[in-house]
Amino acid sequence: MIEWLFDGLLAIGLLWLGWRTVVSAELFKAIVMFIVLGLFMALCWARLAAPDVALAEAAIGAGLIGALLLDAYRALVAERWQADDRNAKPLVAASLAILSSVLIGGLAWALLFSPEPVVDLNAQARARLADSGVGNPVTAVLLNFRGYDTLLEVGVLFLAWLGLWTVGEQESNSAATGAWVEDSDLLTALVRLLAPLGVLIGVYLLWAGANEPGGAFQAGTVLAAVGVLLRLSGRLRPELSPDLWVRFGVTVGLLVFSAIAVGVIPVGGNLLEYPGDWAGLLIVVIETSLMVSIALILTLLFIGSAGLRRGGS
């Protein structure tokens, strides 16, 4: 009973936040609602026994996307952008609402009559877990069973950085004219304390990921949080045009992962088929290099941010 109460409250919270995100009259409110929605999602993942996802969601979904959205919001306000924000007319909006409701109804109907799966992939994954080289089933799926997906996904991250480099600008908006908040003792103290602690937690998550919730993505995101903190407080000011070190950093994960993926072909037989006892070690090497690239790329996403500045202009 108490469980249903909790689930019910969680569901109502999710739906209400989702709804407010979509219908709030002001953009700023919508963004805040979305960030809170992210936190509720993390809670929901924890409730549904998905700690790996909860960790990633709290760091990425709520934290990083939230910061990115607020940053973009600030840039738009600073530019006084006359956005094309004509919303649909009431009649159109009503028909769209009906359309969406029909879609939700159809989905609910489909889910209600979902057949019982014949193939039990869960059991198969658990049965082969011992051969995967790691003890955390999610890590096993990500880096071994479905490692090919992850390899391509690292390509997506690399592309996000390339896209940023193509269309991004450095501290472009008018908000970037104010002075940096550098003289705050409290902020300095926070950075001094959090930066090493963040690095410690990141490395711990990487190391723990083999057998417990965690892994390269969670670790990379925590490191990126440190990077973003340094970036937003003006202590780290990377250039948009990357020097050789940055180029190396953003590609090292992809290079190491694909080199190992190909390198094991003569020994293991297939792409990404880690030979025997080497699986665990190779996965650690891959995850470490992935962590570096992920942390760097996620930090660089804030390259065009105005950062923490005094309220000028």
């Binding site: 159809g106 989905l107 109907w109 489909a110 889910l111 209600l112 009559f113 979902s114 057949p115 799966p117 014949v118 193939v119 039990d120 992939l121 198969q124 994954a125 082969r128 071994n144 069973f145 479905r146 490692g147 090919y148 997906d149 390899l151 391509l152 996904e153 390509g155 997506v156 690399f158 592309l159 996000a160 390339l162 896209g163 480099w165 193509t166 269309v167 050789l244 180029r247 190396f248 590609t251 992809l254 290079l255 694909s258 080199a259 993926a261 190909v262 072909i265 003569p266 293991g268 037989g269 297939n270 792409l271 990404l272 088929e273 880690y274």
Partner: protein
């Protein structure tokens, strides 16, 4: 196991490795890396092609686990044809781009890694046999295509790319929700296993509807075409060619994979006619819009909207003939459209504008380019002898044989409209200029004129390779064994 068996992974892994190297090693090694990529992929495709011809469809278990736990790659005749198309158009356009970007290092430095990843994602998409892996390749494709479309940095291009990105992401999420439903209901992600396991029911129908919707959005099929013309027309010339010739084909390819392999029994009369109707609307509306355009590149882009519509006729005309015609349409349109966009780009570069009504005298100044435009136009307006003609002739035959004469009318109208817009451009271009005054032009480099010509020649030549094409297509086809 030897590397010959690993031929299937080269088209994916080679560009994936070369892309970061391009970024690290810089300008000097660019041409060398490019040549390695082109030759490496071509060589791997030759081996793979041999295996497919000899042994039938090939499966490759990444990681050695095998589906459903692992991810399999799968190559049949259709996949081979798409891979060859990508290789052919990709290599030639790469050559064009080497010259095109020679005087703009800032753009070139960004173009090359992104384009290689785009190539990689196309190859990965054509080889994928796992519906979630396909989602990842679709996202790769989007996140590579959009920055390329925005490469010029002009406001119009940025606005078009933004719209493109939003549409593509909407399509992705629809597709991914369909994948979630299928996994929830049937417990596997492998296309072939799903084909055996999927049972009709609410879950399967809703999943198919979501996946189809997502892919139609990504393939810019009418009425979801609105993002395509501005995005394709405002991109740099080589990018326009790649986007129109290859990128939209990814989603269409996936559409037939899902419909004919995951839901082999879904091709009911109603669903097929409905998709065919969308195709017909795309043909008529796209051609009509192309006719009304003022700018050459937009005309070519609207022509893409129309030409993609022909492919959807494979759903009502689902038999060996229709299948052969529809796939051939993808191939010949790929080459012809790349040629058209490159030729249009040459005109734009030479004149500084691409307003159709002011093309007088271009035919005298840029004879090769205008000839290329005409040659590629033959396929677009489906006149013999060309791949485009053969494709539409097969579709026409399929329509008449199955008694669905209404598609034949659409085909004929589409061809007529296409002929009108192609001749409209040629008419202006070949017209003698007023007052005997030739327009001032910046002549493009010879390579920039020859490469589109080569592409146009290939699009015509495809009309003559009927038998080898049909042999390859038959391998692993849902209509395998039937006489087209």
């Amino acid at each position: 196991m030897s590397f010959t068996a690993a031929a299937a992974v080269v088209p994916v892994l080679l560009p994936l490795l070369v892309a970061p190297l391009m970024l690290l090693l810089g300008q000097r090694s660019r041409a060398a890396l490019l040549i390695i990529t082109v030759i490496g992929i071509g060589w791997a495709l030759l081996i793979l092609n041999g295996q497919v011809l000899e042994l039938g469809p090939q499966r490759y278990a990444v990681g050695g686990w095998g589906a459903p736990l692992g991810i399999d790659l799968y190559a049949d005749g259709l996949a081979m044809l798409m891979l060859w198309l990508t290789w052919g158009v990709g290599s030639l356009v790469s050559g064009y781009a080497l010259v095109y970007f020679a005087h703009g290092e800032a753009k070139a430095e960004r173009f090359w890694p992104i384009w290689l990843l785009l190539w990689m994602s196309l190859n990965a998409l054509f080889l994928a046999a796992d519906i979630f892996n396909l989602y990842v390749t679709l996202e790769l494709l989007t996140l590579a295509a959009v920055p390329l479309a925005a490469l010029t940095g002009e406001t119009e291009a940025l606005r078009a790319s933004m719209r493109y990105l939003l549409f593509a992401l909407l399509g992705s999420f629809c597709y991914m929700l369909g994948v979630a439903l299928l996994y929830g209901g049937f417990g596997t992600l492998d296309i072939m296993q799903l084909g055996w396991l999927v049972t009709p029911g609410p879950l399967a129908w809703v999943a198919l509807a979501l996946i189809t919707l997502g892919l139609l959005i990504k393939a810019a099929i009418f009425p979801f075409h609105v993002w395509l013309p501005p995005a394709h027309a405002n991109a740099p010339t080589p990018v326009s060619a790649l986007l129109s010739a290859l990128v939209v084909k990814g989603a269409l390819y996936l559409l037939v994979r899902i419909w004919f392999q995951v839901f082999p029994n879904a091709g009911t009369l109603v669903a097929g006619q409905l998709l065919g109707l969308l195709g017909a609307m795309a043909i008529l509306y796209g051609s009509w819009q192309a006719l009304r355009q003022v700018r050459l590149k937009l005309l070519v882009a609207y022509s893409t909207v129309a030409q993609l519509g022909y492919f959807l006729l494979v759903f009502p005309l689902a038999n060996a003939t229709g299948w052969g015609g529809a796939i051939l349409q993808l191939l010949s349109h790929g080459f012809a459209k790349a040629a058209l966009f490159l030729a249009a780009g040459n005109v734009l570069h030479a004149l500084g504008h691409d307003r159709i009504a002011q093309l007088h005298g271009v035919g005298m100044q840029l004879p090769i380019t205008v000839f290329t435009f005409a040659l590629a136009g033959i396929g677009i307006m489906s006149m013999p002898p060309s791949g485009g003609f053969l494709a539409k002739w097969l579709l026409l035959r399929a329509a008449l044989e199955s008694g669905q004469w209404w598609w034949a009318i659409v085909l004929l109208c589409g061809g007529l409209l296409a002929a009108t817009y192609v001749f409209r451009v040629l008419g202006y271009a070949l017209l003698a200029p007023a007052e005997q005054q030739l327009p001032k032009v910046v002549k493009p480099a010879l390579t920039l004129e020859l490469i589109p010509l080569l592409l146009a020649l290939i699009s015509v030549a495809i009309g003559f390779v009927g038998m080898p094409y049909l042999t390859l297509l038959d391998i692993g086809s849902p209509f395998s064994g039937q006489q087209p």
